[in-house]
């Protein structure tokens, strides 16, 4: 399946791209993260501490155990600081 991956704040800066399209067979968010980490040092660094990373699936806050069935857009970002 083809998914769009978005990065925000320091994840975007570490990875160096705000978005990318990926062809993946990953079944869960954590499997997708493993796949991304293998892409290179920038990714490994960005995903080195998952306690500092949040994930949204199709614009809904989710978690790393969540399945990717039917998901088209995955976003990774640090804890939010609105207000």
């Amino acid at each position: 399946m083809t998914i769009t991956i978005l990065y925000f704040a320091w994840l975007r800066e570490r990875i160096g791209e705000p978005r990318e399209t990926l062809q993946t067979e990953a079944r869960s968010v954590s499997a997708l993260v493993d796949e991304l980490r293998a892409k290179g040092e920038r990714y490994a660094l960005a995903f080195s501490d998952l306690a500092a990373v949040r994930v949204a699936l199709d614009q809904e806050l989710s978690d790393f155990d969540a399945p990717l069935d039917g998901v088209r857009e995955v976003a990774f970002f640090p804890p939010m600081t609105g207000g």
């Binding site: 925000f8 320091w10 640090p78 939010m80 600081t81 207000g83």
Partner: protein, 146 residues
């Protein structure tokens, strides 16, 4: 329910008056405005990044939840993004209800939720560098009371 995500500045007083006029039947209006704080006079500017699409959904969801929990006549959320100077308004919420308790509680609920559940990220830029604002533990803890 009026929710706006925008780069443009807004006038807090004007918005408060317009909100009050738009809430017939209300006996109470509570409003809150967040401004760019310049601790120590070092801040050159703040930059707010957001997730277009999810931001609007998250704010709608938070306002809808508030409307389900309290008897509100009207709700307003305005949140800015982009570069902001010290002292500028970042965001505001306003709630209207028949009696003040609901409006106060709903405004606090909106603020607690949008601090850590709406996809905004703040970066502070000073003369010596820049740093992303870290989420405070107390902001996560604040959600537990609801």
């Amino acid at each position: 329910m009026d929710i706006r995500v925008q780069a443009e500045p807004f006038d807090y007083g004007t918005e408060c008056n317009a909100f009050t006029a738009s809430a017939p039947g209300a006996g109470a209006v509570v409003s809150f405005c967040g401004i760019v704080r310049d601790a120590g006079g070092q801040l050159a500017r703040m930059e707010i990044e957001h997730y277009p699409g999810m931001t609007e959904r998250a704010l709608n969801d938070i306002a809808t939840q508030a409307g389900e929990r309290w008897d509100l006549t009207e709700v307003l959320i305005i949140h800015r993004h982009g570069p902001l100077a010290p002292g500028e308004t970042i965001m505001m919420v306003a709630t209207a209800s028949r009696h003040r308790a609901e409006a106060f509680a709903a405004a606090e609920f909106l603020m607690d939720y949008l601090k850590s559940r709406a996809p905004f990220w703040k970066k502070e830029i000073t003369a010596t560098g820049e740093a992303w604002v870290e989420a405070a533990e107390r902001d996560e803890t604040a959600l537990k009371r609801w």
